[in-house]
Each structure stands twice: as C-alpha cells, then as structure tokens.
C-alpha cells in the first residue's frame, strides 16, 4: 500500500518535472517565423482584426445614410404639406411674450453655427463630390470654429431652458397623436411652453451637442488611441445623422408647418390663438 502511494507520488512528480522542463525549453528554444509574426500582429494590429473591420464596414455607410435623410425627409415634408397643409392661426389678437431677447440672440447664434457645422461636416463626407483639396480643408477649419461657437451658445441656452424642457406626464400623449400634425382640424394638443417634440430636439441638441463637442475635439486633435478614435468617429457620425434629421424637422415646422412660427423667434411674441391650440398648458401654468 505504502509502496503504491510512493510510486504514484513519484510518477506525479516526474510528470510535473517534464512539464517544467518543456516549459523552459519552449521559452528558450527558437521561435518559428510564424510565431514571431503572430506576436508582432498582437502589438501592431491591436484590435484591428475585430473593431477595425467593423469600422471599415460602418464608416463608408454614413454617406448613404446622410444622403437618405437629406433627400427623403424634405420629400416627406412636401407630401405632408400637400396632404395636411400648414396650421394657420390668427395673428390679429393679443400677443404673448414668449422668448426673451437674450434667448433669441443665443438661439440665432446657435442656429447660425449649426448651419455652418452641418454644411462643413457634410463637406467632409461628400469631399469627393466637392472636388476635395483645399476647399474641404478650409471647411474643416470652419467646422472647428463653428463647433466652439455652437458650444458657447448652447451652454447658456441649456441653463435658460432646461427646467421647461423636463419631461411632463402629458408628453407621451403628445407623441401618440404626433402633436396633431397628422390631421387638418385644429384641436388643442397636450403641451406646455414646449411640446414633446421640441423637448426631444432640445435634449438632443444640448446633451448630444456636448457629446459631439467632446468626440469632435478628440477627432480634431487626434490625441487618443486609434481604437478610441474609431469609436468616437462612429458616435460623432451617428449623432450627426440624428441631429441633421431633427434639424430638418425643426426647419420644416417653423418655416412651413406652423404659419408665423418663424417670426416669433425673431420678435419674441406668439399670438394667443396659437398658444391656445399648440401650447395650452403654458397658459394654465402662467395664469395667476
């Protein structure tokens, strides 16, 4: 019995000894060129075989998505305008002060910067069609300046509006009826100073804007690892796509869907009748 145990233990010890010897020989023995190149691949390629390949598939597809958004949305708006037409409200009655002077200045600064950002950003994606070269290089510089401008304007705008932009209980029903924009009849919709759509656009433009600023800054400076920059570029492009879509909706709403909406951001007043239908809760809130 004792002999068998010692024998078993001895065998185990021998097996361990062989394993250690093999390990030592493996470490000190020569590498095959294949081993060497595999080791180099780990250092040089890093996560390219996985994340890099995904990037290769994703990055060129954004051009197509942007083209779809920029062409399809205006077509949809045109159809909507033909079918449902604009909402008209009497501009004869009492006018209610709606946007302060400082707010309007900030809004238009942000708007101007956004337009610059949009066009200069698209010029990078559509560089080939613009002839590329120094024109797009200059526009990339414009993109940087406009980015700082937008950030500077959106930050105080966020502080002014964030309270009124918090989600309310009736926002869901606004979304379910799509703000009453899918019908010709005039009916009060559940909305406070800002409706649910405006709120969504606000949060996307401010919080999304900060994400755009952060990722964009790193993409401009190129001071992060390549794998981080790949993720940043995809985030930057995807958010830009969402912002572009919402911007086009915003533009259509203010220019065509609601008559005179554009003017209220210039002079700061909204006609009482428009508020009664589109922002009825604003009257309840501000009533003494």
């Amino acid at each position: 019995m004792k002999k068998t145990l010692v024998g078993l233990f001895g065998l185990l010890f021998l097996a361990w000894g062989i394993e250690v010897l093999a390990e030592v020989l493996r470490n000190y023995g020569p590498l095959s060129p294949t081993d060497t190149f595999q080791e180099f691949a780990g250092t040089v390629l890093q996560d390219w075989p996985t994340r890099g390949r995904e990037f290769l598939k994703l990055a060129p597809s954004f051009k197509r998505y942007f083209l779809m958004v920029v062409l399809a949305l205006p077509a949809l708006f045109f159809l909507h305008f033909l079918i449902f037409g604009p909402k008209r409200f009497s501009h004869q009655g009492r006018r209610v002060p709606y946007y302060g002077a400082f707010t309007r200045v900030l809004h238009w600064t942000a708007a101007l910067c956004f337009v610059f950002l949009l066009f200069s950003g698209l010029s990078v994606l559509f560089a080939k069609d613009l002839g590329a070269g120094s024109l797009v290089r200059t526009l990339r510089f414009v993109h940087l300046l406009a980015g700082f401008g937008f950030f500077g304007a959106v930050l105080p705008l966020f502080l002014i509006w964030w309270k009124e932009m918090l989600p309310a209980s009736y926002d869901l029903s606004w979304f379910l009826s799509l703000g009453g924009y899918l019908s010709r009849e005039k009916k009060p919709v559940p909305a406070g100073k800002f409706n649910a759509g405006q709120k969504l656009w606000f949060w996307l433009a401010t919080v999304g804007g900060v994400v755009m600023f952060y990722t964009g800054f790193y993409l401009y400076r190129f001071e992060a690892s390549v794998s981080t920059l790949r993720v940043y570029l995809i985030i930057h492009n995807a958010l830009a796509l969402a912002l572009t879509a919402f911007f086009l909706v915003h533009l259509y709403m203010t220019l065509f869907a609601v008559k005179g909406a554009f003017r209220s951001m210039i002079n700061g007043y909204k006609p009482l009748e428009e508020i009664k239908y589109l922002h009825p809760k604003f009257l309840e809130d501000s009533a003494p």
Binding site: L31, T36, P60, V124, A127, A132, F141, L233
Partner: protein, 202 residues
Amino acid sequence: MAPGPFGPGGKEGSMGLMKFICDTERCIACNGCVVACKEGNHVPVGINRRRVITINEGQPGERSISISCMHCSDPPCMAVCPAEAIYKRDDGIVLVNKDLCIGCGYCLLACPFGAPQFPKAGPFGARGVMDKCTFCAGGPAPTFSEKEKRLYGQNRIAEGKVPLCAGMCATKALLAGDAEVISKIYAERVAKRGSGLSPKIF
C-alpha cells in the same frame, strides 16, 4: 533574361506587385531604415514614414520588425477615404494625392499598421494632409519635378532603384521589390537557416 529586383525586365505588362518583407531573424533594430527614409525624403519633423517595433525586448526571443505602409492588395485606407485621394498604381504601390487629401484622418483609423502620418500643420494643432511611405515612388505630381520632391520625396522607382530603407538596410533584413522575387529570397533564407535546433527533443 534573369529577373531583376523589379520582376522580369523587358517584357511589357509583366510588372510584378511591389512589396516589403522584413526578415525578423535579421533585423537588429538599428533604425537605419527610419533615418534613411526621413533624411532622403525630407519628411517633416515629428512624423516617421517607417518605424521599428521590438517584442520581448531584453528577453530571450527578442525580435524586431520594420513597419511602414505595407502597400496592401486591397487597401482599407483607399476604401474609406472620402476624398478618394488614395490610389493604387498598376505595380501595387499605394500613393496619396496631397492636392486632394483633406486631412480627415479616416485612413489612419482604417489602417491595420498605423501607416498614415499627419504633420501638425495648422492652427489649434490641426492636421495637415496625410503623409506616408511612397515606396520611394514619388507621387502624382510630374516625375522628377520640384513639386513631387517637395510633397512626396524621391522617386527612386523611376530611377530604377530600390526604396531607400531597403537599399541601406545593413543586414538586408528589409527586402523591397517584386513580391515573387523577394518572397523567393526570403523562403530560401528560411530554408537554409532551419530551425536552429538539431533534432527535435520531443
């Protein structure tokens, strides 16, 4: 006719594919290729078209490799470039047109080898146009013109010479030329070297 370093000469349309091979058993990490490329092509300060990477430094199994643009058969940089500034010559050399490049950096994010380089050229640390290994074949500017030399460096291929880095490599670890020819040289070396160990232990 014996094949020269750039494929079987004299025959039209028989041009091979230009490739680099770095023999890691020979590379001694002297960085001579990096310096030769930088000096010979007047590469701007702060960027290197070629770099030497060492693994297991100071340990058994230390190996080094010299890496630049590998002139891929299906270049990922070319696939993502929104300006279509990157193109591939018939002989497989991948080049960038600096007049078209917008410096967006997509190519660097797509490249597995980190080959594209961007000099800090503009205000606020803005990137200039992309610069990378040209296989010493100049660029799209007229061959041997002042512009080609200024933007892209030497055009040694047009002169019938090998790229500077491979030409000056002291141990001849870095091979450049027709893929068929240099892979044959490398295969012969590997076969002659063997594993370095006489009969297998296990």
